[in-house]
Amino acid sequence: MRRLVALVLVVLPPLPVLADVPSVVQDTVEEHILPRVDAFAGAGADLAAVAASTCDPDDDGLRAAYTVAFDAWIDMSHLRFGPTEVADRAFAIAFWPDSRGATPKALAAMIVNKDPALADPVAFRDVSVAARGLYALEYLLFDDGLRQLGQPETRCALTRAITYDVAANGAAIAADWHDSYAARLMEPGPDGPYQTDAEAVQELFKALGAGLQFTADVRLGRPMGTFQRPRPNRAEARGSGRSLRHVVLSLLATQDLALHLAADDPELASRLSSAFEIALATAARLDDPVFAGVASPQGRIRVEALQTEINKIRQIVATELGPQLGVAAGFNALDGD
């Protein structure tokens, strides 16, 4: 009988190393989340300060501040829960994808109508999210049509209103994390949003999965379209040439999160890390900053190869990291159609 048990054990795969969930959550919050929300808050404040001194869309300083702030946002754009979801902050910072072209329409209407909210930061917070945030700012800095629409003073006021609003939202997100949300995640309880350690780590696990899904399905999938009908015009932030950059930045950020979550299983961490490195190397070889190549079959295949590598990471995350952490995928905002 004992011999039988031994035999059974031999054919079973080794039991996974179970994660020390409370310390995984704490390390992730302190080393992955807080530095990112602080960096974005700082970059947003700098952007608003530069815009206050110049709103010339060709100004190098303004464009550099825009680049730093957008990079900092993409670096935390997978952390879509808690403070980013209060008062639609994340949508107001980053309304994309915009499948109905709402951003240029909303900006044009504000400029042409000299919308009173331009001069009133509180009123501006009620404006459509399509006319707010970094994707709207990109139009004001880089889109030929909008750069010439209406009066320069109106466009300048809009640039300042947008940057001030981005800074305010970045500051509010960071403040909420420091004041309360970090503690709620690290110390779950019956009165908080997370009842158990498992629910807290599930939130982080979902952020990783949703971040990778967004990069594969939306950042790459939208411009890829179908083989018969690729859609290069749908590439993210193509006006400022940032489409591929966003993919790389989000891969680096989700890699950091994945390694934190896999900290208790070095073997799994190492396989995850390799999968990310392969995807990053594929991205580096692409040499196609706005995915214009998807228009040709050969170019599209190369972008699809990158998507495939990201889906391989997702596979490891879903089938190995989830069980190792003892959590299921759960629901996320991309579940609709």
């Binding site: 109905r100 072209g101 009620d126 498992a198 379209g225 299921a328 995928a329 759960g330 629901f331 996320n332």
Partner: protein, 420 residues
């Protein structure tokens, strides 16, 4: 022995439903029965709509237009309750776009106001207007649209050029043909298409009245035949029923996936919060008819139906059987209480929106920038739906289903399937 004892004790307290320990098989049977009844009611209501449309076309009076609109509104009540069968059942997901695709670029179908604009970056055919154009080119191919038939709509026009906004069939195409565009912006009021858009001869307004009638009739025929097909899939030995009953754990997961995905990503996100954040009345789900408040309400009710294993049919009779609530109650009574409380909160919040809209505070007005009362109402619904999705995740864990592969939901799906 223990369970018998427990059952006897509970019966003594009058908790007979909890005492009848539900099996997963029974729960899935109830689920499939509710699906069949919901689609059957949708089909019956669509047939009434089809008859009303025939009457309108034969005799385009204001009264007949009004009757057709009322038939459309009534048809939405059972159909919206069926949306919870999406996202977990592949057979529904593969089919749903034919009957309820949204949002649509309505200029594909018929005339629109000049403010609508022309072809867009996203859609070359946003202003095609097939009713006015018997011949046109689509993706490099000449299309003969001299006869507007169900086949033309379903096979050629629907999702033309691979664009989802090219919605040529289903409830919303019919809605547009009955109401027309809602040009009231954030003001109250729905579309105001005149009955004379279907008049013969010189009385015809909007041009091409015969072709418009042909289109409307073809769309109604398709809706009926599509619903007939789906109802049959949930009958005994139907493919939808067989799929959920083939593997009990997968079947229960399909139920929960539909409930959670509809609550969170679809309804709270895409349908409610997005429109509010954009202050855009065109983001209303039933925008031509101003029926969005009802559409949201009956979606929410469908989610609760599935959990409670109970559906009130169009004729008022109640279909009831073993439920997820029974299963969860057996495993963890507190979790069941939490789930039921969350579902009730959602219905209260969606009911508040419906009551305000029925009382004259239109959903368009709620979406307007700076309308704090409207924002509070809509966010009440959004927050309740997001909150209930959280508890649905707890139910997945509570029933020990967290290691079952999820199907039919993007995020719950095994992403490996994407590249296999």
């Amino acid at each position: 022995m223990k369970s018998v004892l427990l059952a006897t004790t509970l019966l003594g307290f009058g908790l007979s439903s909890a005492a009848m320990a539900a099996t997963k098989s029974d729960v899935l049977t109830t689920y499939a029965d509710i699906a069949e009844a919901t689609y059957a009611d949708s089909l019956a209501a669509a047939k009434v709509l089809q008859t009303a449309i025939d009457t309108l076309i034969a005799d385009p009076t204001d009264a007949n237009l009004q009757a057709a609109r009322e038939a459309w509104l009534a048809a939405r009540v059972p159909y919206q309750q069926s949306e919870v069968f999406r996202f977990g059942n592949a057979i529904v997901d593969d089919w749903e776009g034919k009957v309820n695709a949204w949002p649509l670029d309505e200029g594909l179908i018929d005339y629109v106001d000049s403010s609508y604009g022309g072809p867009s970056d996203e859609n070359d055919f946003a202003a095609l207007n097939v009713i006015a154009n018997p011949q046109f080119e689509l993706s490099g191919k000449a299309v003969d649209a001299r006869q507007i038939t169900p086949n033309l709509l379903a096979d050629t026009l629907h999702e033309a050029d691979g664009i989802e906004a090219n919605v040529a069939t289903g409830y919303h195409a019919i809605e547009f043909l009955l109401w027309g565009q809602d040009l009231n912006g954030h003001g109250a009021g729905a579309g105001e298409r005149p009955a004379s858009d279907y008049a013969q001869g010189d009385a015809c307004t909007g041009g091409n009245c015969e072709r418009r009638a042909e289109y409307l009739s073809a769309a109604a025929d398709l809706l009926v035949s599509d619903l007939e097909w789906m109802t049959a899939q949930w009958a005994k030995d139907g493919a939808g029923r067989s799929a959920v009953t083939a593997d009990e754990n997968q079947g229960i997961v399909a139920m929960l996936t539909g409930m959670g995905s509809l609550s969170y990503g679809e309804q709270a996100g895409e349908r409610m919060r997005l429109g509010l954040m954009l202050n855009d009345p065109e983001e209303e789900h039933d925008c031509f008819s101003d029926n969005t408040h009802n559409s949201h309400y009956y979606d929410g009710l469908g989610i609760r139906n599935v959990y409670l294993g109970s559906y009130t049919r169009t004729d008022g009779s109640e279909l009831k059987g073993a439920s997820l609530a029974d299963l969860v109650g057996d495993a963890d009574p507190e979790l069941d209480a939490e789930m039921q409380a969350k579902l009730d909160q959602t219905m209260d919040a969606l009911g508040a929106i419906k009551a305000e809209a029925d009382g004259g505070f239109a959903y368009d007005q709620m979406l307007e920038r700076g309308n704090e009362k409207g924002e509070a109402l809509i966010m009440g619904g959004v927050n309740a739906l997001v909150d209930q999705a959280k508890t649905i995740e707890r139910v997945v864990t509570g029933l020990g289903l967290d290691n079952i592969a999820f199907e039919g939901s993007d995020s719950l799906d095994n992403p490996g399937a994407v590249f296999q």
